[in-house]
């Protein structure tokens, strides 16, 4: 896997001039010529979180270039969307960002509903959608939290994160029968009514999670070794974030106050914001530089607790009622084009749907946040140390199912 691009010539010669250390000792440098190496990180590297390859060009411990190579998981989701009926495409949406399938279902459903002006979504359905989307955001950020620790060498938080994620999966299993690919939020509302007592269980989860969250934050985010590994590394300036079109925690980690839930609201997020139920965490450069790996990680971890607050608000106002609007078995979508972007755990998930009035879409575009956020790697990596490259890739929090679609 390691390819030597130049002939290696050891020429270890102590330089004549040394450096006087504060202790008074003399330190000599050695002129060691280290030829450029091209190292394939992946496709089966644990830190790439899926089948992705980063071609690193290294000079000793220094990374001088990085080029991500994608496409190992390309399944042609957009082409499939042009060949199956509107509702049949829903299960495919589960499979791009498989850690946040509820959010994908929601984004697709909203994009199709934008073309159906006559369709009314019941209030209860909207609230259940919000609860599921926010719970799924917590589950997704728990993975980001756990695996980021794992990448850097902290093993324990991973197991704690998976314990809580398991609980969320069990909740989802109760409501829709699936643990990872839900297809629960569908065009017109949600698939079925929540089972009796489900909302109570969600409330119980919120109570327990709030306590646990504080422990996790102290355990990993404020851990000295972790902070030293992530602060001042992979700094994304606000200008760079704009230029690369970053969204979600990657944008907010650079201190830019923008969240689609508040600023371009969909569903009932305006009402929740106006009720003062949640805040939007921003990167502050608290531990190092604004926009470093720690800031992005911090935004994700703090977002979990904000999601809990949103869930609590929804649990407070939810009332009995229907959960699915008046949609026929075979959905015919009126002609038109719509682009709907929602706040996924990783950023803006955009769906562009184009209908000519038939049973099948003309175009079914998916704008995956991971795909866009990954592009920044080419600029972020040069000049860092090889050991930090893992920290930088981990901080972009990509899901390869979404970059490749």
């Amino acid at each position: 896997m390691v390819e030597q691009t130049q002939e290696y010539k050891p020429s270890i010669q102590p330089s004549e001039e040394g450096r006087v250390l504060p202790s008074g000792e003399r330190e000599f440098f050695f002129d060691v010529s280290t030829s450029d190496l091209e190292v394939n990180m992946g496709p089966q590297h644990p830190a790439t979180h899926g089948v992705m390859r980063v071609l690193l060009r290294t000079d000793g411990e220094l990374v001088t270039g990085a080029q991500p190579h994608l496409g190992y998981l390309h399944r042609g989701a957009e082409k499939i969307g042009e060949n199956v009926e509107w509702l049949q495409y829903l299960p495919y949406t589960d499979r791009y960002d498989y850690l946040a399938a509820m959010n994908n279902n929601l984004g697709y459903s909203l994009a199709v509903e934008a073309l159906m002006p006559g369709l009314e979504i019941p209030r209860r359905a909207t609230l259940i959608r919000t609860i599921c989307a926010e719970l799924n955001r917590i589950a997704s950020h728990l993975i980001a939290f756990g695996t980021y620790g794992l990448d850097i060498g902290a093993f324990t938080p991973f197991f704690y994160a998976f314990r809580e994620r398991e609980w969320i999966q069990a909740l989802f299993e109760k409501i829709c029968g699936a643990r990872l690919t839900y297809s629960y939020i569908r065009i017109g509302g949600v698939f079925n009514e929540a089972p009796p007592g489900w909302l109570k269980e969600v409330e119980h989860f919120c109570d327990v999670f709030e306590e646990k969250w504080k422990e996790y934050y102290d355990l990993l985010a404020l851990n000295h070794i972790f902070v030293m590994r992530t602060k001042d590394i992979g700094v994304i300036t606000p200008e760079m974030a704009y230029d690369f079109g970053l969204t979600g925690p990657m944008l907010r980690g650079s201190g830019i106050d923008f969240d689609l839930r508040r600023d371009m609201p969909y569903m009932d997020y305006t009402e929740i914001w106006e009720a003062g139920a949640y805040q939007i965490p921003l990167g502050s450069g608290e531990k190092g530089t604004l926009g470093d790996c720690w800031d992005r990680f911090d935004v994700r971890v703090k977002e979990m607790i904000e999601s809990i607050k949103i869930v609590r608000y929804c649990l407070g106002v939810i009332e009995p009622g229907p959960v699915l609007g008046d949609v026929p078995k075979v959905i015919k979508v009126p002609p038109g084009e719509a682009y709907v972007g929602i706040e996924n755990p990783r950023g803006e998930l955009g769906h562009y749907s184009h209908s000519d009035g038939g049973k099948v879409a003309v175009r079914c575009r998916v704008r995956g946040p991971s795909f866009v956020n990954l592009a920044v790697l080419e600029d972020l990596m040069p000049g860092t140390l090889l050991a930090d490259s893992v920290a930088i890739i981990g901080s972009t929090d990509i899901v390869v199912g979404e970059t490749d679609r």
Binding site: G71, F258, D263
Partner: protein, 171 residues
């Protein structure tokens, strides 16, 4: 700003290449027009693509800092045009703009937006391999999701699925 105000402002500053606004309309039985739902677009000339984006990014009343999405679409197999669709987003003013350009299928070529927004770089690579659109001035126009030796443009409506790939039958 809402779409109407953005469009009026683009007219007022004489944005290069602006052709028309394409807004949703109700169906009309007399003219047998099926109507259109969804969201409004502005249509621009492909040749002034970069200049138009520069105005969108730098005008103080618009300030579209983010190029959220750049994609293409093939509306029908017998249609003579491909569409290039761009979604812009302003963080400061909290508004969006959808931009559309028509490219003839016989010579689908448009200037690259990478000089204005680097976010366009990967999107353009994807459009290039999927639709066969040439982005003039793109720094790195390789395939991104497909293998380098892929034949044809898979997202075009007249694409024929391959019978075999490297000696492996696909049927």
């Amino acid at each position: 700003m809402d779409f109407k105000a953005i469009y009026d402002h683009l007219r007022a500053v004489d944005a290069p290449g602006l052709i028309e606004a394409d807004e949703p309309r109700l169906p009309d039985k007399e003219t047998k027009d099926k109507g259109r739902s969804g969201m409004p677009f502005v249509r621009i000339e492909p040749a002034s693509f970069v200049d138009f984006l520069l105005v969108c990014r730098d005008d103080p009343k618009l300030t579209f800092e983010l190029l959220v999405d750049l994609t293409a679409s093939d509306p029908a197999a017998d249609d003579e045009n491909l569409w290039v669709l761009v979604q812009l987003l302003s963080v400061k003013h909290k508004h969006r703009l959808a931009v559309k350009a028509y490219l003839p299928k016989s010579s689908a070529s448009i200037p690259s937006a990478t000089a204005v927004y680097r976010a366009a770089q990967w999107h353009e690579r994807e459009c290039g391999e999927m639709y066969g659109i040439t982005f003039v001035g793109h720094p790195d126009p390789r395939n991104i999701l497909l293998p380098d030796d892929w034949v044809g443009y898979p997202m075009r409506k007249d694409y024929e699925f391959p019978k075999e790939y490297h000696g492996v039958s696909c049927e």
